[in-house]
């Protein structure tokens, strides 16, 4: 028990980094994902082509490669990121692509008649989005967004590779130093707690949308 208490501060400071990365990625990627998804369903062919290419790259290559590319690769051509910035940048680029695809599907599954009936009622484009389309899209995408959110909690462990002090790194360092499994088990428990809390919040949100169909 004393041992657990002694390593907790370093694990918790690692968990703090994990949480910060997680929250900033969500806060920036979800709105960006909505914007990119609107680009994907827009009438501009060039924009659509560029965005599709971006999504293909982001979803078609490992996030680990993207992290290494940004932190170790880009400095070769003179673009240098701090560790934390490199990690955040890679996560935002990667997760925006996934969210954009989810929102694109969401927007496309709202029937065209909804836009038309809003139009004949003289609602503006923004009023239609705000009061009619976005609530319906939200309900459709929440389960898929939830999956990505859980994935994101776990994916933050990948920043280990660029030497950022997050949770997994803190646990691994302690295990290597003290030759015991306890730190890694604790790391596992902390991840379970974080994904558990995220799932619980998502369930609540899903439930709040269940009063209409």
């Amino acid at each position: 028990m004393n041992y657990i208490i002694s390593i907790m501060p370093s694990l918790l400071s690692g968990a703090k980094m994990t949480l910060i990365l997680f929250l900033w990625t969500l806060i920036i990627s979800i709105p960006l994902g909505i914007i990119v998804s609107l680009g994907l369903i827009s009438h501009f062919k060039i924009i659509r082509a560029i965005l599709k290419f971006y999504i293909w790259i982001m979803r078609g290559t490992p996030l680990l490669l993207q992290l290494i590319f940004i932190f170790y690769g880009l400095p070769i051509i003179g673009i240098i990121f701090q560790r934390y910035n490199a990690a955040l940048f890679a996560f935002i680029l990667n997760y925006t692509a996934y969210f954009a695809e989810i929102f694109r599907g969401g927007f496309q599954s709202v029937p065209g008649g909804q836009y038309e009936s809003a139009h004949v009622l003289q609602l503006t484009k923004w009023q239609t989005l705000r009061h009619i389309i976005i609530p319906q899209v939200s309900k459709i995408v929440i389960p898929s967004i939830g999956n990505e959110v859980i994935n994101l909690v776990k994916d933050t462990s990948l920043v280990y590779v660029i030497g950022l002090g997050e949770l997994l790194r803190a646990g691994n360092v302690a295990t290597a130093r003290d030759v015991t499994l306890v730190p890694l088990v604790l790391v596992g428990i902390i991840y379970l707690l974080m994904t558990g809390i995220a799932s619980f919040i998502l369930k609540k949100i899903e439930h709040s949308y269940s009063k209409w169909k």
Partner: protein, 217 residues
């Protein structure tokens, strides 16, 4: 009085409506009939501003207007869609009051009062707080009618109002249409392929003929 003059509508090189002329008097019920694909619904969509016509004029009381650019002070048409298109995320009362509040800038109590009166007239009292999925087809249709009427249009248009209804409900919507004519002095246009229904309710029947169009691949 609504007049359509020389309305032409093409999709690509397919002409759907060719120099169509039509006059509807106030408080009249006009049924637009014709075979499938003849352009009945297209005509309704042009009139309600969902499609742009290629040429021709729309006149309301001898004043030209553009259906695709409606003004909130003078909404010419309201539409009851074939599949009603209620907003599933809003309660019945919100479905009806949303546009009056946002577009006509009615205050809450005024919008609510109008909506409750409409629900009462359409035999929907007590459904205010339900969501559309909790209503039957006929009830949804009446909500769609109420929602359109709340915007105080000059003309109410229906797209195939009987297509999804059983005979009893078909009679009921016929009654409502006549009631709106007699009590609300509403001018109404009904697109339908149901000839019996058209004869029952309409003052005037207009047949859209299928044009011999050239199809281009």
């Amino acid at each position: 009085m609504l007049e359509l003059k020389n309305i032409t509508k093409k999709f690509g090189s397919r002409t759907i409506l060719n120099k169509l002329n039509l006059t509807i008097l106030d408080q009249e019920i006009l049924a637009i009939v014709g075979p499938s694909g003849a352009g009945k619904t297209t005509l309704l969509r042009c009139l309600s501003g969902l499609e742009k016509v290629d040429s021709g004029q729309f006149l309301w009381n001898n004043q030209e207007f553009d259906p695709t650019e409606p003004s909130k002070d003078n909404q010419i048409t309201g539409v009851v869609f074939q599949s009603y298109e209620l907003f599933p995320n809003l309660t019945i009362i919100d479905n009806i009051t949303l546009a009056p509040r946002l577009v006509l800038k009615e205050d809450n109590s005024q919008a609510l009062q109008t909506a409750k009166q409409l629900l009462h007239d359409l035999d929907l009292t007590g459904k205010e707080e339900l969501y559309p999925y909790q209503l039957s087809g006929g009830q949804k249709q009446r909500v769609a009618i109420a929602r359109a009427l709340a915007m105080k249009p000059q003309i109410l248009c229906y797209d195939e109002p009987t297509s999804a209804l059983d005979p009893a409900l078909r009679a009921k919507v016929g009654e409502i249409i006549l009631q709106l004519k007699n009590n609300n002095k509403m001018t109404q246009i009904i697109v339908t392929h149901d000839m019996d229904f058209a004869h029952q309710v309409a003052d005037q029947i207009f047949t859209v003929k299928a044009l011999d169009f050239k199809k281009v691949d």
